[in-house]
C-alpha cells in the first residue's frame, strides 16, 4: 500500500503555498491544476511558444519565483497533475478528477484535502452584457496574459473594484490603453475609508504604480459612472453610460466588465477540518483577500492539516495577523467603493446558460425552494451550474442561491466517454 497523499486542488498562490508547506514537512502531495500551467489568477504564464510577459508589480513576481523555487526543491514529494479538473467528491468519499490529457476520470482517496480553487468574478447585469464584444475583465486579463497581446480597437472598462485600474495599466503597457475606466463607486465621498487605505503600504504602492501607468497613457478614471446598456453597433458596441443624472453614449469595440470577486464554492465540498478526511479551503476560494493573503492562507491551511495528522504545530500567529490585515484592507476598500445596487430592467439576461431573464427570476415565489429555483426557474441548471449567475441572483433576490446539498458532482461538465472510463485507485 502506498502512502495516501494530501490533496491540494488549485495551483495559484494559495495552493502552491499549501503544497510546498506540506511537502517540506515530508508528506506526499497530489497537486491538481485545471490549466496547463501553475500560477493561478495572478501569476498566469504565457501560453507555450509565446514569450510576451504581461507587466506585473515586482513584489508579485518575487513572490511567485519564491513559491516555484520551493515547489521545485520538494519536487520528489509532489505529484503535479495539470490539465486535470477536480470534479467534486462523490457519496463514497471519492475525490474525482477529469484528466483532460488522458481523457479519463480517476478517483482517489487522499488523507486530507486543501481546496484552493480561487475566486470567481462577479458582474452586475445590464441589458446587453451577454453580447459578443462584452467580456469580463478577468477573462480579458487571462487572454492578455496568455497571448501577451491586448484586444484591438477601442476598449472600455467598467464596473467596480481594483482589478479595473490594474487591467487598464496592463493594457496600456501592452500597447492599447482603454478609452476610459468607469468605476461605479465614489471613493472621494468616503474620505475616512480612503485615509485608512493609504496606510496599507504594499497594495497602495501597487495602486500608485497602476495610477502612474494610467496617467502616462492619459486614461480617464471616472467615478460614479455606470454602464446601463450595451447594444450592437456595426462591428462594435454602443454603450450607454450614466453619470449622476446624465446619460451619454460611447462607441467602443470591447466592453470589459467586472464587479469584484467572490469565493468559488459551486460544487465544492463543504469544509470539514475535523472529518476523517479533513477538508480545508484556502486562499480566495475561502475568503477573497487577494494574492498576498492567499500565500499566507495556503500555509495556514497546510499547518492545520499537518497538526491534524500529528506532524507539526499549529499555524504561526503571524499568518493570522496578516490575514486580518488583508481582511481589514478589503473591507475598507469595499466601503470606499460601495455603490447603490441598480435594479436591472425585466428583460435583462441573468442566466446565460439557460437564457433566463430578470423577469423570470422575479416571477419565482419569494420563499421558493432550491428545487423550484433550479428546476422551475432553470437558474443554476446549465453548464456553469450557477457558478457565474449565482452571485447575481443572490444580489437580486437578497439571499444566496440555494445550493444542492450534498454538493453535486461533476462541478464542471465532463465527457461521457471519460467518465465511463472511470478508474478507481484503491491501493492507497
Amino acid at each position: 500500500m502506498r502512502e495516501a497523499p494530501i490533496l491540494v486542488v488549485g495551483a495559484g498562490p494559495a495552493g502552491a503555498s499549501a503544497a510546498a508547506t506540506i511537502a517540506e514537512a515530508g508528506l506526499p502531495v497530489l497537486l491538481i491544476e485545471q490549466r496547463d500551467q501553475l500560477g493561478g489568477a495572478i501569476h498566469r504564464q504565457p501560453a507555450a511558444g509565446n514569450e510576451e510577459h504581461v507587466w506585473r508589480p515586482a513584489r508579485h513576481r518575487r513572490n511567485w519565483a519564491a513559491l516555484t523555487a520551493r515547489l521545485q526543491a520538494s519536487a520528489e514529494r509532489i505529484e503535479i497533475r495539470t490539465e486535470t479538473i477536480f470534479l467534486g467528491v462523490d457519496s463514497e468519499g471519492r475525490f474525482l478528477f477529469d484528466d483532460r490529457h488522458e481523457a479519463c476520470v480517476f478517483a482517489r482517496r487522499p488523507r486530507a484535502a486543501i481546496i484552493a480553487v480561487g475566486a470567481i468574478e462577479t458582474i452586475r447585469p445590464f441589458p446587453g452584457w451577454e453580447l459578443p464584444g462584452v467580456m469580463t475583465a478577468g477573462g480579458a486579463q487571462v487572454l492578455l496574459k496568455e497571448t501577451g497581446r491586448p484586444p484591438e480597437g477601442p476598449i472600455l472598462l467598467a464596473g467596480g473594484g481594483p482589478l479595473l485600474p490594474a487591467l487598464a495599466a496592463q493594457l496600456a503597457k501592452a500597447g492599447n490603453p482603454p478609452v476610459a475606466v468607469l468605476e461605479r463607486g465614489r471613493p472621494w465621498n468616503a474620505p475616512a475609508a480612503l485615509a485608512r487605505l493609504a496606510l496599507s503600504w504594499a497594495p497602495m504602492s501597487e495602486a500608485a504604480a497602476y495610477a502612474a501607468a494610467l496617467a502616462a497613457s492619459r486614461v480617464p478614471y471616472r467615478c460614479g459612472a455606470v454602464v446601463t446598456q450595451a447594444e450592437p453597433d456595426g462591428d462594435g458596441l454602443k454603450v450607454s453610460i450614466r453619470v449622476g443624472e446624465t446619460q451619454e453614449p460611447l462607441l467602443v469595440r470591447h466592453l470589459l466588465i467586472h464587479d469584484g470577486i467572490a469565493p468559488n464554492r459551486t460544487g465544492i465540498p463543504l469544509p470539514d477540518p475535523d472529518g476523517a478526511v479533513p477538508i480545508l479551503l484556502a486562499g480566495d476560494g475561502r475568503e477573497a483577500l487577494g494574492a498576498d493573503a492567499a500565500i499566507l492562507d495556503g500555509r495556514r491551511a497546510a499547518m492545520q492539516v499537518l497538526a491534524r495528522l500529528g506532524h507539526a504545530e499549529r499555524g504561526a500567529p503571524s499568518d493570522e495577523r496578516g490575514l486580518q490585515r488583508a481582511r481589514d484592507f478589503q473591507a475598507t476598500l469595499a466601503r470606499a467603493l460601495q455603490a447603490e445596487p441598480i435594479v436591472p430592467p425585466p428583460e435583462t439576461l441573468i442566466c446565460r446558460c439557460e437564457g433566463r431573464s430578470h423577469a423570470d427570476l422575479a416571477a419565482l415565489a419569494p420563499d421558493a425552494s432550491a428545487r423550484e429555483i433550479r428546476l422551475m426557474g432553470r437558474f443554476g441548471l446549465g453548464a456553469c451550474q450557477g457558478r457565474f449567475c449565482g452571485p447575481m441572483i443572490a444580489a437580486l433576490r437578497g439571499q444566496p442561491l440555494p445550493t444542492a446539498s450534498p454538493p453535486r458532482w461533476p462541478l464542471r461538465p465532463v465527457s461521457v466517454a471519460a467518465l465511463a472510463r472511470l478508474t478507481i485507485d484503491e491501493t492507497e
Binding site: D90, S91, E92, R94, L96, V105, A107, A365, D367, A368, S369, R371, E372, L375, M376, G382, A383, Q385, A404, P406, R408, W409, P410, P413, V414, S415, V416, A417, L419, A420, R421, L422, I424
Partner: protein, 402 residues
C-alpha cells in the same frame, strides 16, 4: 391518533359532515405531482385546498426523475391497464389546454442486446398487445434508420408508438399555477389529527391546521405519517444529464428502454447494483440517462462507480453519447410498496383520510390521473377507473391475518 373501526366509505351524502354552505377544506400533504394534481382538481370542484410541503413543490421524487409517460414499461396486470388510463388522461389534458406544451407524444423502443433479452422483449410485447397496446416490431435495419448510430449489440426491438413524455416538475408547476390552492412551503406535517374517529386537521410543527379531510400524498414521507414503515420502502435511482445534442427538440426519435429495465420492472432481477438502462432524449436536446435501483436508500447523493456503470451501458447501446458531456448527476427516491403496486384509496381505519402514494418509478405517468382520482374520492365521487387493486385495504387485511 386514535384508530377507529374502518367505517362506511366516504361516498356519504353529507361530505364529511360539513354544512354544505361552507366549502370543503382539504389539507393535502405533499406537493409532488400527485398532491398537486389532487389539489388542482379539488379546487376546480370548489373545495378549499391547503397544500403543505416539508420543502416546496417538486421537492421529492417529482423533481428528481425522468418523465416517461409510458405504458411500454409497465408490469402486465393492473399497472399496465392503469397506465393506459393515465396516459389517456395526459392526452386529454394536453388537448384541453391544461398540459399544453408540456406533454409530448413519442415512441418507446424496447431494445434487446442478447438472445435472452430478445425473448424477454418479445414476451413483454405480447403482454402489451394483449392489454390493447399498439406494438410494432422493428428489425435492426429499420431501427438504425430511426436511430442512427445505435450500438452493434442491439439485435431486436419493439416500438410502442403511443407513449409520451412530460417533466414532473413542469406538470406540477402548471397544475399549481392554474389552481387557487394555497401552498405552504417549509411546512412539514408531523401528524394527522383525529377527533372521534375522523380526521380534523394536521399538525405542522407546533401549529394545528384544521381541515375537513386530509390527503396523504407525501411520497416516502407518507410512511411515518401513516405508520407504513413496513410496507413502503425507498428505492434510490441515480441518473446523469448531458449537454445538448441538438438545439431544438429531442436529439433522437424515441425513448430507448433496454431489456435490463424491463427485467427490473418485471421483478426478474432484484439487485442494488443492477442498472435498468433508459436513454431519454429531452425536449431541450439533452439526454437523461439512468438509472440504478437501490433499495432502502433514501439519500440524494450519487457515486461515481454507479454513474460510470450507467454510462458504460448507455455507450454500448448508443455510442454517439461519447460526444456528449455530463452536466450533472442526481438521485431521486422512488417510493415502492411491498407488493409493487401503488396505494390509492380511503384509509382503512381513519375516516376523512385518503392515501395516494407508492408510485415507485411510475408516478409521473400515473400521477395526474391518480391525483384527479384521489380528488374524486375526497369529494365522495367514484373513481374514473377500477382502483380496487390499489386499495390500502389490502395491507389492512394482510396485517389482520398476520
Amino acid at each position: 391518533m386514535k384508530p377507529t373501526r374502518f367505517g362506511p366509505s366516504l361516498y356519504g351524502t353529507n361530505r364529511f359532515g360539513m354544512a354544505s354552505s361552507s366549502p370543503l377544506h382539504v389539507a393535502v400533504i405533499g406537493t409532488g405531482i400527485v398532491g398537486a394534481s389532487a389539489a388542482h382538481f379539488l379546487a376546480a370542484a370548489g373545495a378549499r385546498v391547503t397544500l403543505l410541503d416539508a420543502s416546496g413543490p417538486a421537492a421529492g421524487a417529482t423533481g428528481a426523475s425522468d418523465g416517461a409517460v409510458s405504458v411500454a414499461s409497465k408490469r402486465p396486470g393492473p399497472m399496465m391497464d392503469l397506465a393506459r388510463h393515465a396516459r389517456a388522461f395526459y392526452v386529454r389534458c394536453e388537448q384541453d389546454g391544461l398540459f399544453r406544451g408540456l406533454f409530448h407524444r413519442r415512441s418507446t423502443f424496447l431494445v434487446a442486446r442478447t438472445a435472452i433479452e430478445a425473448d424477454l422483449v418479445a414476451q413483454h410485447g405480447a403482454d402489451l398487445a394483449a392489454a390493447g397496446e399498439r406494438v410494432v416490431e422493428v428489425d435492426r435495419a429499420a431501427l438504425l434508420d430511426r436511430i442512427p448510430g445505435l450500438g452493434a449489440s442491439v439485435c431486436a426491438a419493439l416500438e410502442i408508438p403511443d407513449d409520451g413524455h412530460a417533466l414532473g416538475y413542469e406538470i406540477t408547476e402548471r397544475l399549481l399555477a392554474t389552481s387557487r390552492a394555497s401552498i405552504r412551503r417549509n411546512a412539514p406535517v408531523s401528524e394527522i389529527v383525529m377527533r372521534a374517529g375522523r380526521a380534523c386537521g394536521v399538525a405542522v410543527r407546533n401549529e394545528f391546521l384544521p381541515a375537513d379531510a386530509v390527503l396523504v400524498a407525501a411520497g416516502i414521507g407518507s410512511a411515518p405519517l401513516l405508520g407504513l414503515g413496513e410496507i413502503l420502502i425507498p428505492r434510490k435511482g441515480q441518473m446523469a444529464v448531458t449537454d445538448r445534442a441538438s438545439v431544438a427538440g429531442p436529439a433522437i426519435d424515441g425513448h430507448l428502454m433496454a431489456a435490463s429495465y424491463l427485467a427490473a420492472k418485471r421483478g426478474i432481477v432484484r439487485d442494488n447494483s443492477h442498472i435498468g438502462l433508459v436513454i431519454d432524449p429531452l425536449m431541450t436536446g439533452q439526454f437523461l440517462i439512468g438509472g440504478s435501483r437501490e433499495d432502502h436508500r433514501s439519500d440524494h447523493s450519487t457515486d461515481a462507480a454507479t454513474i460510470a456503470a450507467i454510462l458504460r451501458e448507455a455507450l454500448d447501446l448508443y455510442p454517439p453519447l461519447a460526444a456528449r458531456r455530463v452536466l450533472r448527476s442526481f438521485a431521486g427516491v422512488r417510493t415502492a410498496s411491498r407488493d409493487g403496486l401503488p396505494i390509492v384509496g380511503l384509509h382503512p381505519h381513519y375516516a376523512g383520510v385518503v392515501i395516494a402514494t407508492g408510485f415507485e418509478g411510475d408516478g409521473i405517468c400515473l400521477g395526474p390521473f391518480m391525483g384527479a382520482n384521489a380528488a374524486r374520492l375526497l369529494l365522495g365521487e367514484r373513481p374514473e377507473a377500477d382502483l380496487s387493486a390499489l386499495s390500502p385495504q389490502r395491507f389492512a387485511r394482510v396485517e389482520a391475518h398476520a
